[in-house]
């Protein structure tokens, strides 16, 4: 079983990296580039048998380690 996790900055939290990427894309000549946000993408192989168990475990991982819920949101997807 595989968990795919997206950790992104909450709305309104300053994202200097995303901003710098947007800037760089512009100076490379790409036009029509609006807001750019950068987050993390984490894949975890799991040996759990049920999707529900995996979902719950990964949510705990996110709260405890993978995301800083003061400034970040996370989305979990479990692939069977």
């Amino acid at each position: 079983m595989k968990a795919k996790i997206h950790v992104t900055l909450k709305n309104g939290v300053h994202d200097p990296q995303g901003q710098a990427i947007g800037h760089a894309l512009e100076s490379l000549g790409f036009d029509g580039v609006g807001d750019v946000r950068q987050g993390k993408y984490i894949e975890i192989d799991l040996v759990d048998s049920t999707e529900a168990a995996a979902q719950e475990k990964v949510a705990a991982m996110c709260r405890q380690l993978l995301a800083n819920t003061v400034i970040e949101n996370y989305i979990i997807e479990i692939d069977g």
Binding site: L9, G12, V13, H14, A20, V70, I71
Partner: protein
């Protein structure tokens, strides 16, 4: 209909009496934006309402002080037309909530305070206090804070040269992160924040403004929640890259002659910077928020004024000079916007979308902020601890090894290896010694910098603890051969509304003031952080001191490593074996008791002046002051630094061994010296001196005890990395 209910101003941290004062000043009810402005201007953080009365007692003057407290940072003369600019500031609460960003933005903020004054930052320091090592949050907080400090300082390219880090259960729910920056400027090109000249333009530079750090409590008002489904974070995210550009752009602009006044936007952002600048210069300001670069859409006046977005500055330019300034900021790809104009009305008029969002008199807000004389009591002095009642559960060297591997005394290499302490190429003495030494580029001079505080002494005896904190920094600078010049302080305490906490505060200030006077190191800047408590449990009183000294010739600096084999090692100062509040008592006997060690300031001065003179003459060839852990710990540190052992030939005489070895008596140094006449020199100067042993070999040897350097090093170096590895 009036929005001003007691609940609303209470949410803004204002008391009823304070709200009445607002009504008096305005002669009407404030609108919500105005209330927000009052709330931040009159917050403890910005107004110093509990501490102001006492801060005035600190000595702040000396012939070499160019600018004392009251500006963004203190400024002292270091000769040849140059000045050192420095300050320390706390970021305790944000670092507890989000350790990486909290610590990082703390570094960013103090850097801005220093380069705002026209100085190029050349050194960062940090004072850290964490909870007990066994507390479940401690490891995570240490990791986050250290990488945040490094992440910011390393990226802006300012070396982080030292600081301190200790652990105690009183910080479990309230860590301390105090950051200090030192910069160098031309003494005749210091920039101040007083805005003058009605008609002059007010310019905003740096990053855009977002909704960062607007205090959660104020969000309760419906007006500010309608566009946000998600609770807005109060944490600010640092952008060290933009800060680096801001440093370069500001210094480039400062080299031209177009700035009237400049101020960083720190706590309370646009509000406090504009009010302070206007108040100091006695002018009014018309601000147009439509011109403020915004990162988010539909920001309200309230949000613009209270945002704590980072990496922003406000300046007043000389007439007709916008283009010069604009070009420089465009080169560095930073926002630049004319946001207002100075007036002669003495009022702050803030407009948004053609409407007046706030109209406030400046001086009453900035100057007539509340000032409290809070009740205070002095805690009864603790009973003393007598060495005979303190056990020595094992051979002295075994105890030494335990102490050297304890959280407070272990090597902090794991921390400072994560800090770039070499960038700029002027680092003479790296972290790990008594004081950092950094060369002043293109001169023979160097600055010596150190931070210190012993909170357990401050708890036992705030006056003595205050003296000791200053004396220890003074000693640290002396130990590398520098002439101490001035200090900055960061006064971290609990809730000032509790008389016993206020008593600690008052006592510490008295002690700091006394030491500053005798040791001739005025306070030129500082910061106060109160309400450091969780669930009614206050932190240990922690008045952190940052001190700066001068070496006229950096090649004369000495370090703590023994310079060679076969050298006599001398103990300078008197040893009484004071074990009260010692680390030995706490770590070995598990007791936090006793009186703080007495500090005799005149003796400090006499002994320290002798040591410094003999370093300057090249007689003393290595030096280490004796502090936490006492004599043997200091000796062990010198041996480890050199990888050279020592055979100890002295002993405590009438003192018991553990009192002699680990007592924390003040005003002491260990040195090696060149030439045969050192003892005679010391005797002539009436400075107590004892030869305690001779360097050589690869172990500490005392009578029949031996401790190899390898074994000692393992205990000393491994604790922190092992702890952090979990």
């Amino acid at each position: 209909m009036s929005a001003m209910t007691p609940a609303v101003f209470a949410e803004h941290g204002l008391s009823e009496a304070e709200y009445d004062k607002i009504l008096d000043i305005l002669g009407r009810e404030p609108n919500l934006t105005e209330l927000g402005v009052f709330s931040v201007m009159w917050s403890e953080h910005c107004s110093y309402k509990s501490s102001k009365k006492w801060l005035k007692k600190l000595p702040t003057e000396a012939p070499w002080v160019i600018c004392g407290p009251g500006e963004n940072a203190g400024v002292i003369d270091i000769g040849d037309g140059q000045a050192a600019v420095f300050k320390m500031e706390s970021h305790n609460h944000p670092s507890y909530i989000e350790p990486y960003q909290g610590a990082a933005t703390g570094v960013g903020g103090i850097l801005r305070d220093v380069f705002t004054m026209g100085a190029r930052p050349v050194a960062n320091m940090n004072v850290l206090r964490f909870g007990d090592a066994s507390h479940p949050k401690t490891r995570h907080l240490v990791a986050g804070v250290v990488s945040g400090i490094g992440g910011y300082g390393n990226c802006v390219g300012v070396p982080t040269l030292g600081g301190e880090c200790a652990f105690h259960g009183s910080y479990d729910g309230n860590i301390l992160v105090n950051a200090m920056t030192v910069g160098i400027a031309d003494a005749d090109k210091i920039f101040y924040s007083a805005a003058t000249g009605a008609g002059n333009l007010v310019v905003y530079v740096g990053s855009k403004t977002g909704r960062d750090g607007i205090h959660g409590a104020t969000m309760a008002s419906a007006e500010f929640t309608e566009n946000s489904d998600e609770k807005r974070p109060t944490v600010q995210v640092g952008d060290p890259f933009t800060e680096k550009l801001l440093i370069e752009a500001c210094l480039e602009l400062m080299a031209t002659d177009v700035i009237v006044a400049i101020q960083d936007m720190g706590a309370a952002g646009l509000t406090s910077s504009s009010f302070e600048m206007a108040s100091k210069g006695g002018v009014g300001v018309d601000l147009n928020l439509d011109q403020v670069p915004a990162r988010e859409e539909n920001m309200t006046a309230y949000e613009f004024l209270l945002s704590e977005s980072q990496e922003r500055m406000l300046m007043v330019l000389k007439p007709g000079e916008e283009d010069t300034a604009r070009k420089i900021f465009e080169k560095w790809e930073l926002d630049f916007s004319v946001v207002g104009r100075l007036t002669d009305t003495g009022r702050m008029v803030i407009r948004e979308k053609g409407e007046v969002a706030a109209d406030l008199p400046i001086d009453p807000l900035a100057l007539a902020s509340p000032e409290y004389d809070r009740p205070w009591v002095v805690a009864p002095p603790p009973a003393d601890v007598c060495a005979a009642d303190v056990p020595a559960p094992g051979p002295i060297f075994a105890l030494l090894k335990n102490l050297m591997g304890s959280p407070d005394l272990c090597s902090k290499r794991w921390i400072w290896e994560q800090y770039d302490h070499l960038v700029m190429g002027d680092t003479v003495q790296r972290p790990g010694g008594d004081a950092a030494v950094v060369r002043v580029r293109d001169t023979q001079k160097a600055l010596a910098i150190t931070t210190d505080c012993t909170p357990r002494y401050c708890l036992a005896d705030p006056v003595m603890g205050g003296k000791q904190a200053v004396a220890e920094t003074w000693r640290n600078l002396t130990a590398v051969g520098a002439q101490p010049l001035a200090i900055t302080d960061n006064l971290n305490f609990g809730n000032p509304e509790r008389p016993e906490i206020m008593g600690q505060f008052v006592g510490a200030i008295e002690g700091i003031g006394a030491a500053c006077t005798v040791l001739e190191v005025p306070v030129v800047s500082g910061n106060v952080s109160l309400y450091n408590e969780t669930n009614g449990e206050a932190i240990l009183p922690t008045p952190a001191i940052g001190a700066v000294g001068l070496l006229t010739d950096y090649t004369q600096a000495v370090g703590l490593a023994f310079p060679g084999d076969g050298l006599a090692v001398y103990l300078i100062g008197e040893t009484q074996g004071h074990l009260g509040q010692s680390l030995y008592l706490r770590e070995i006997a598990g007791r936090e008791e006793g009186k703080a060690p007495p500090v005799d300031l005149d003796r400090e001065r006499k002994i320290g002046d002798f040591v410094r003179d003999e370093i300057g003459r090249g007689v003393i060839t290595s030096c280490h002051d004796i502090s936490d852990g006492g004599l043997l710990v200091a000796l062990a540190e010198m041996a480890l630094a050199a990888n050279i052992g020592i055979t100890i030939t002295a002993g405590g005489g009438s003192l018991s061994d553990h009192a002699w070895a680990f007592g924390e008596d003040q005003a002491r140094y260990l040195v090696t010296a060149a030439g045969k006449h050192f003892v005679a020199l010391a005797e002539v100067a009436r400075v107590p001196v004892t030869c305690i042993g001779r360097t050589g070999g690869v172990a500490l040897v005392w009578g029949d005890q031996t401790l190899t350097l390898d074994e000692l090093r393992a205990a000393h170096e491994d604790w922190l990395p092992d702890y952090m590895a979990g």
